[in-house]
Symmetry: C2
Subunit: 656 residues, 2 copies
Amino acid sequence: MGVNSNRVEDHPYHETTIRIPTEAAMPPLEIHRVCLPPKQTTLQKLRQRLADIFFPDNPLHRFKNQTWFTKLLLGLQFFFPIFQWAPEYNIKLLKSDIISGLTIASLAIPQGISYAKLASLPPIVGLYSSFVPPLIYSVLGSSRHLAVGPVSIASLVMGSMLSEAVSSTEDPILYLKLAFTATCFAGLFQASLGILRLGFIIDFLSKATLVGFMAGASVIVILQQLKGLLGIVHFTTKMQFYSVVSSVITHRGEWSWHTIVMGFCFLVFLFTTRHIGKTKPKLFWVAAAAPLTSVIISTVLVFLLHSKAPRISVIGHLPKGLNPPSSNMLYFSGPHLALAVKTGIITGILSLTEGVAVGRTFASLKNYQVDGNKEMMAIGIMNICGSCSSCYVTTGSFSRSAVNYNAGAQTVVSNIIMASAVLVTLLFLMPLFYYTPNVILAAIIITAVSGLVDYQAAYRLWKVDKLDFMACMCSFFGVLFISVPLGLAIAVGVSIFKILLHVTRPNTMALGNIPGTQTYHNLNRYREASRIPSFLILAVEAPIYFANSTYLQERILGWVREEEERIKASNESTLKCVILDMTAVTAIDTSGTDMMSELRKMLEKRSLQLVLANPVGSVMEKLKQSETLESFGLNGLYLTVGEAVADISSDWKAQP
Amino acid sequence: MGVNSNRVEDHPYHETTIRIPTEAAMPPLEIHRVCLPPKQTTLQKLRQRLADIFFPDNPLHRFKNQTWFTKLLLGLQFFFPIFQWAPEYNIKLLKSDIISGLTIASLAIPQGISYAKLASLPPIVGLYSSFVPPLIYSVLGSSRHLAVGPVSIASLVMGSMLSEAVSSTEDPILYLKLAFTATCFAGLFQASLGILRLGFIIDFLSKATLVGFMAGASVIVILQQLKGLLGIVHFTTKMQFYSVVSSVITHRGEWSWHTIVMGFCFLVFLFTTRHIGKTKPKLFWVAAAAPLTSVIISTVLVFLLHSKAPRISVIGHLPKGLNPPSSNMLYFSGPHLALAVKTGIITGILSLTEGVAVGRTFASLKNYQVDGNKEMMAIGIMNICGSCSSCYVTTGSFSRSAVNYNAGAQTVVSNIIMASAVLVTLLFLMPLFYYTPNVILAAIIITAVSGLVDYQAAYRLWKVDKLDFMACMCSFFGVLFISVPLGLAIAVGVSIFKILLHVTRPNTMALGNIPGTQTYHNLNRYREASRIPSFLILAVEAPIYFANSTYLQERILGWVREEEERIKASNESTLKCVILDMTAVTAIDTSGTDMMSELRKMLEKRSLQLVLANPVGSVMEKLKQSETLESFGLNGLYLTVGEAVADISSDWKAQP
């Protein structure tokens, strides 16, 4: 230690020491100091940390060094993305938008009616929800391809959660009130997530969780559609596997063969067109037009046959006219308020996840940016306004957005076109739906949601990550057999457990030198890597926290014990130094720093030196603040494993 | 790319390629392949993972390569540590153990009585609990210095939780039943944690949480002792700050001045002796003997003065004799069962934490190993047996273990000596406690628990880690103002939130080359580090998970944008390649692999090459399984950043 003992006394962190080599043949040994990160006050750190949490995208960077007028314009564009594209809008773009808008309208009208039925709401609410929200989104939204309207998952969840407390057939007014209230809370929740910039909360619904959740929900929806498909009249309102299946079986007597035949014919038609649309993207319009075609054909059929087959149930009378205001129906007190809030939050988070994910997907295909937090505000405000104009929860739908994209949509004007088409329908065409059979709505829903069962994704999860697959299965079976919110909660719990497991039981590995280099890698993985006699070089692959400090201490002592046993068995030179490669220890807390100094003491008792290599900035800071660094001395810190080995072994040679 | 395009085609992972340098002056460039870890089946991986979770200490390693007889002996020693030291026990050790045993007995008897009162149990239960459990622990326990008996925290928590449902004065039998039942469940819980090797659960009570929790609990206990210290008769049974303080104030009329004077005199005496014992470790016996001395002096005083000061409340009659059996009092049905189970689990986990931590502390001082899971089994079995012999929750007490250690205890025989002293007390000395005033018990409790308020530790937490300090404060105020279990739950929540926060918002940094080396370090931290023109080298400091993949993608694109702006402003050569240093990315999940391939595509659109350096084994596996690796090609993977820079820039030079 004699040669470099001066390193402990003087603290110039930013210098390089040239060591005098002990043997003439050795190249001069250059030892670099480990630096502390630049000093920051607690306030600065807090500010940076908060900026990192809430403004990772740094939304203000565009406003820097601009005139006041430009700043105002940019601010306007920031809050109303319509100002970004409107000045450059032209007739060519409009033509594309009209085509795509009409295409998605042909899909939105039958889907709107169907999804409203899925949520146990009057069919007309589905059309209302396809009119106001798209208009609002077109002003506020930053995605150019999102097709806004009711979606299957949110409809399903709302239906299942509200039906548990209130029957939509026995007390339809209360049910409607609760649905609008839940929509309002969903909007408030979404908008506040966006305003408070807490968008990262939806990241906790991992893809694995969502794959399982969507598949489970789809299976339940498909089973529930057996009501319409088999023509059953009395059916459970519950959303559980058992009650749905037993409902189907116990009401065998109500099965209507006319309905079944019709339903299956249209199912085959819809699935075939969907398959065509999928395999040949150019023929996307075949799949897009199929639902409306089915509705038209089946309505005509039923109209012609209704005297002969009276048991086929039809939608019946639908009121004509625009969305009536519904702000007077919001329900802010009374026994079911808690349910409405809960339903609002869960449907809100689900619809947000779908909307943001769909927006991001198509944005990345066309290489533009969608700001998650801004999208949340847009979707939130859209739902708040929706709840005051007889709409229920809406968001960007995956299936309709895909059709929109394929049909060549250029801007959100396609949403305005779609809304106009719905407007015409609401004003003039409602009587035409009188004879539309319910079975066709069931067939449309089944076709739409069956696409959500993504077994290939599940197989990929199984192949790549067993724990992700487990989270997926948990949410699938949880939704199927327990309930939607509990299934989701279990899946999120499994995902978080996975993170904690990785932190609680981190990987440690022994490193060896790759010959001819100064780098050290896993001995187990690189056969050419070789041990350095008298050294044990360990890498810890996780931050050191209270949750793993005891384990890591035991594990490191275990490595030392094993190494000493190995050395004894093979008669090598005794172990003298343990080097911890701290590169992957990205954080440390007070339990961790305590563990480090305790470990150093324990190894010292066995006359082993403990040395740290390349601790990251934040870890260095913590070690310094907790005074653990002082016990190590600058002698116990090296920038790289290579320098540590070279310096320590030259010290040994200097004083044999 | 021409020169090394052959690297993609042939896959020999364990080879070294010597590249032909493009310029004569350059040294030969040696490029090392990134290896996949050795192949393992899912079953092997699962087995290794489970072994890592449940057997990190590898308890079977001693049994390897032994004869059957040795194995049997080792097994016996494993389950009954008494067989480890008993054969070598001698008269010298016994002498030390007798001295320390008698010392802790003098502490255990008054503390036993006091803590039982803290738990609202009859004082005699405290003595019972200082007799049976130490005997059982001496056979099963592996710590040599643990002094077993009732402890303040567990007594407090049991008292506060049970008092909420059942009054110990109105229904003392039910209360006693519940206490024994809770003890039984605590024991079952502790033993099963040990047997199932789930000991790591107690690691989730971080040191920060415990510091805050103990301080909060101590403050409440001290306030509650005002009842005894002021001589108040009617007092709340609740354990909340408000109700205790308001109880003290509203019952001002009951304050007894005799009691107060006596109490404060003995408090001063006890604190003074404690201070002496702390500052001069050799005089530890002054502090150790003080409680018994106070009890004796105060009892004599009250006996002499009881005609003149009848308002000083005394313990009164205590039954003589050994622990009566209480297995018939266990309560396995009825309305309060859930409470008993809950109380059992919470007191169980708290007493386990204290016992294991104390055992480990003294073991590390004397350099021997305490097996956490075995200790859990020992403490659990001790409590199960205790619950059948009129004992309540016991564990290793910190204060008595410290006295035991200082008094020179060598083995658990000191516990046997202590139990014998308690036995003599139980059989013959009980009538002597008739006149012992309750105020002295209050003073003993206050002195004992005031040592648990560790403000220095809290200050250290503040200095080193603000979030740890927050967890500490949450548990302090939670316990003080809400309730013990909720306060604990909040603190654990904050600790877990901290882990998740680190994972959700990981640090990313730009690296530069340290001149004269092949290593790359943080540009911000190392002033001498220099950027490499045309390269952006980024390090990600966290595993890539669903919870951070979106953030990381945004953040990396943000780095690219900033770098491009900087280059534009300073007229440097354009950015061509982004290198991600993956050393600290210790794990990746399916969302992460998707993000990586998407990022690669996005950068490719901007004609930027994305290259990974040094991915760890598990990440390589995941990348391979998810087929992300194929999109990178072997061309996009390097063992070190240095090799990546050298190889890619020589490629650029080869084809300008």
